[in-house]
């Protein structure tokens, strides 16, 4: 397997695993929780390294991280439930505390171990092809592929199996509970998988890119559609495109791979924000302007319908208090629609325009 292929495939696995769960995080307004979990897993990993004697050990690290992730969620819920502080403040309290605990532990006990902080934050996806998994004396290929492939599969199964239950408890946890669907259990299951995914991706892509992949593709997809299944599919797609494009650009520009992937995802979000057919900022503005023009044109038609002679533009400007530019726009639109005649003596309706003006809007 070429190393390019391994890196890109690893990234696609990470982004897919993240997008599947991230879609529900975004809809639950828990984006901040993704941030919290992906940082707070650090002490769990450190503890697991310590327990396993400082060797590279993936299984204990995964378990430790999942435990730390759950600890974060539990602490945040508990703090929120005391009613003294809000949810976002509770997250802001818990995760720096846990993360700094992890950082302290790393700097105190693991100076010589290959857990270094840069790798924690930014990851080293470029090394993905070289950490190979060996079992029974066989070389099974890159470890990151196995871990992330497995996590992608688990997350996919989770979302497919519990799609209906996840949707209901995300939209209306009250009804989910009333119907006996255990939304709290689903919540912790979701958070456990986020923790597992975060730590699985940790070694290869680092905490920053995990957060980016958990939040940005789903947030982008949310802007593009109003249907949940489409949103999830689009989130996966945006993640995959960010992975591929990010890698290509990083090679071309000789930049950080993880950084470039996050940047591409951010750019895609920006594009969706501006141009989304559903709620894009520019799309909405264009639509508003078009509506304004059409409305103005209708006013103009109604006004002209009362006159048998061509009406000079000056008169119209006085009547409605429009700027000449605005009148020109309305005029242009009406002419293009064949409602206004191009009369040098002023503004005059065509037969179609007169018919339209006569009819109630």
């Amino acid at each position: 397997m070429s190393s390019d292929f391994v890196i890109v495939l690893t990234a696609i696995f990470v982004s897919t695993a993240s997008a599947l769960l991230g879609s529900f995080l975004v809809l639950r307004r828990m984006a901040l929780m993704a941030d919290a979990i992906s940082h707070a897993v650090l002490p769990g990993i450190v503890l697991a390294f310590w327990v396993s004697g400082g060797e590279r050990a993936t299984a204990p690290a995964l378990l430790g991280a999942a435990a730390a992730g759950l600890l974060t969620v539990t602490l945040v819920e508990w703090l929120t439930r005391t009613g003294r502080i809000k949810n976002d403040a509770a997250i802001g309290l818990v995760f720096p505390a846990l993360f700094s605990l992890g950082v302290l532990a790393v700097s105190l006990y693991f100076r010589n171990v290959h857990l270094d902080l840069d790798a924690v934050l930014y990851g080293e996806i470029a090394y993905a092809p070289f950490n190979t998994l060996e079992a029974f004396g066989l070389n099974l290929g890159p470890e990151s592929l196995w871990i992330m492939g497995g996590l992608t599969l688990v997350n996919l199964l989770f979302v497919l199996l519990f799609y209906k239950e996840l949707k209901l408890s995300t939209f209306d946890a009250g009804l989910a509970a009333a119907l006996g669907f255990l939304p709290a259990v689903l919540h912790y299951a979701l958070m456990s998988l986020v923790s597992l995914t975060a730590v699985g991706a940790f070694q290869s892509v680092g905490a920053i890119l995990i957060v980016a992949f958990l939040i940005i593709p789903p947030a982008t997809a949310y802007l593009l559609t109003q249907r949940l299944p489409v949103m999830i599919a689009l989130a996966v797609l945006v993640g995959a495109v960010s992975s591929v494009l990010g890698y290509v650009l990083a090679i071309l520009l000789d930049a950080s791979i993880a950084g470039m992937m996050a940047t591409v995802a951010g750019l895609l979000f920006g594009l969706a924000w501006l141009f989304s057919p559903v709620g894009g900022v520019l799309t909405a503005r264009n639509r508003r302007e078009r509506q304004r023009r059409e409305f103005a044109a209708r006013l103009l038609l109604a006004h002209l319908a009362h006159h048998d002679r061509p009406v000079p533009a000056r008169e119209v400007l006085e009547e409605f208090g429009w700027s000449p530019a605005f009148l020109a726009q309305a005029q242009q639109w009406a002419q293009r629609e064949g409602l206004l005649a191009g009369d040098p003596n002023g503004l005059r309706l065509t037969a179609r325009g007169a018919a339209l003006a006569g009819e109630r809007p």
Binding site: K164, F171, G174, A178, L179, F181, T225, Q226
Partner: protein, 258 residues
């Protein structure tokens, strides 16, 4: 046939279990109790109002009996059974503000959620469920809006979607938290129509209500609540100036003796 024979037997039986029977219910969010020693018995087949000032604990009462928030003490029975056994027979219309209407889904899909309980875990809604949901939407006059994104519905339409969802549940006992809040006269009439239809089918409807002017016209049974139950019973006996004064304090004297 079966139903009528049960009804005949009912008089012979000691007493048929009420749809909702609450004993000594106390609920506290923090130290201070929000509901204190509530006893309540809701009669079958009636439209029942729960009335009280803001913060009286009306929503809390509904959430506590449905097991959505923990009880400090007390017992709740539905049709003589604990909540777990009676879940399928209970429908719930929460306050409209309790969900995020920007969720990417349409009206039909929200109504379908009412049928999830019947489906249980893992099974997905199919054609039969979709037809039941469409029928529920028809009952609230929203057929044309089935595929409309829920954010693009008006407040009154959203309220009716919630109502349709409860109808789709085909329950025997309904809880509605302020279904008339912020809706216009037409929607109010439509919701009332549905409630009366439910009553005609022998269902029991418990409604948190705020408008004292309409209590007399809409309901058969009234519970006045302000942390404690001030009064609970048939409307004629409970809808009195003294009870309202005890519920709302001295300044209240609305529309009782008209």
């Amino acid at each position: 046939m079966i139903k009528s024979s049960i009804n005949e037997q009912a008089s012979a039986l000691p007493r048929r279990a009420a749809p909702l029977e609450v004993r000594d219910l106390t609920v506290a969010y923090h130290e201070k109790p929000v509901l204190w020693d509530v006893d309540l018995s809701i009669p079958e087949g009636q439209l029942c109002a729960i009335v009280g000032p803001n913060g009286a604990g009306k929503s809390t009462l509904i959430k506590a009996v449905l097991g959505l928030i923990p009880k400090a003490s007390g017992t709740v029975q539905f049709f003589g059974q604990p909540l777990e056994a009676a879940r399928r027979r209970i429908g719930y219309v929460p306050q409209r503000s309790s969900v995020d209407w920007d969720f990417p889904t349409n009206a039909l899909d929200v109504v379908l959620m009412g049928l999830y309980g019947r489906l249980g875990w893992f099974r997905r809604p199919g054609k039969a469920e979709r037809e039941a949901a469409m029928h529920a939407l028809e009952q609230v006059g929203l057929t044309a809006f089935a595929h409309r994104q829920i954010a693009q519905l008006s407040g009154g339409q959203q309220q009716r979607v919630f109502l349709a969802r409860a109808l789709a549940q085909a329950s025997d006992l309904y809880f509605m938290d302020e279904p008339f809040a912020g809706v216009d006269a037409v929607t109010e009439a439509a919701i009332l129509q549905v409630m009366r239809e439910l009553k005609k089918q022998g269902k029991t409807v418990v409604v948190v209500h705020h408008d004292l002017e309409t209590v007399r016209d809409y309901f058969d049974h009234l519970t006045l609540l302000n942390v404690q139950v001030i009064a609970s019973g048939p409307l004629e006996q409970t809808f009195t100036p003294e009870n309202l004064k005890a519920t709302y304090g001295e300044r209240m004297s609305v529309g009782v003796g008209r």
